[in-house]
Amino acid sequence: MSEATYEREDIEAVLAARHTDAVQDRLKKGVVGVLGLGGLGSAVATALARIGVGKLLLADYDIVELSNLHRQHYFLDQVGLLKTEALKQNISRINPFICVVTIEKCLTEAMIPHYFRNVNVLVECFDRPEMKAMVLRAALTSLPGVSYVGASGVAGYGENNLIKTKKIGDRAYLVGDGESAIGPGLGLMAPRVGIAAHHQANQVVRLLLGIE
């Protein structure tokens, strides 16, 4: 393993060289909340950390289980850790200068505005449909000025291009095929969940860059 240590300036220089100073400046100022750190959330947060989004609020109350590793960005030696802590560790190995705030709560609709009122974008990555609906409701009713990127319909191994990013309101986007629910015979798999997660992450980038 490399013993080299890198300063903030080293990492920021390579990011700016690839993304341009103007883009990197916007990404670095970005504050993004990720709700749920499963297959979608762990991939979204990792992608945003890699490109140097400045601050990530990561919310989940669950621990990493062996049965998560088929699609979630964790490792065998992290089984039993809180997902928030495990993901924070992994992000720090990519870029230790990303500010990561962890929230280990089972979020309710009333709690969401309290924790996420200062983010630029709220990314809904929960598993259960009623939790997903709750986040959109909270965003639309209680978080003016905060953009929303949710997901619905990511299970199985259906056609790649049925995963879409649909604008559902002012600064609100929903990713997925809208139909493929988790259920008997239709599990969640890393490739298709990853397609959706990266649709979400790219929509976050577009919102941070001011592209509607």
Partner: protein, 66 residues
Amino acid sequence: MKVICNGEEQEVRAECTVSELIVSLGLKPETVVVECDAVILKPDEYSTRQLHEGSRLELIRFVGGG
């Protein structure tokens, strides 16, 4: 009477509630976000909120998996 649901006309009985409409579409109320006449409804309003002729609804439905 007729209501507009996700941009399409739909025939419902007089005094139909939001939750009746959701169930009639084969959906579970708790998995749907409802905007009725430009107001986002709370889930506990679904069973009491009655539609009227020309009510405009936007339903956003979520399925499980993440």
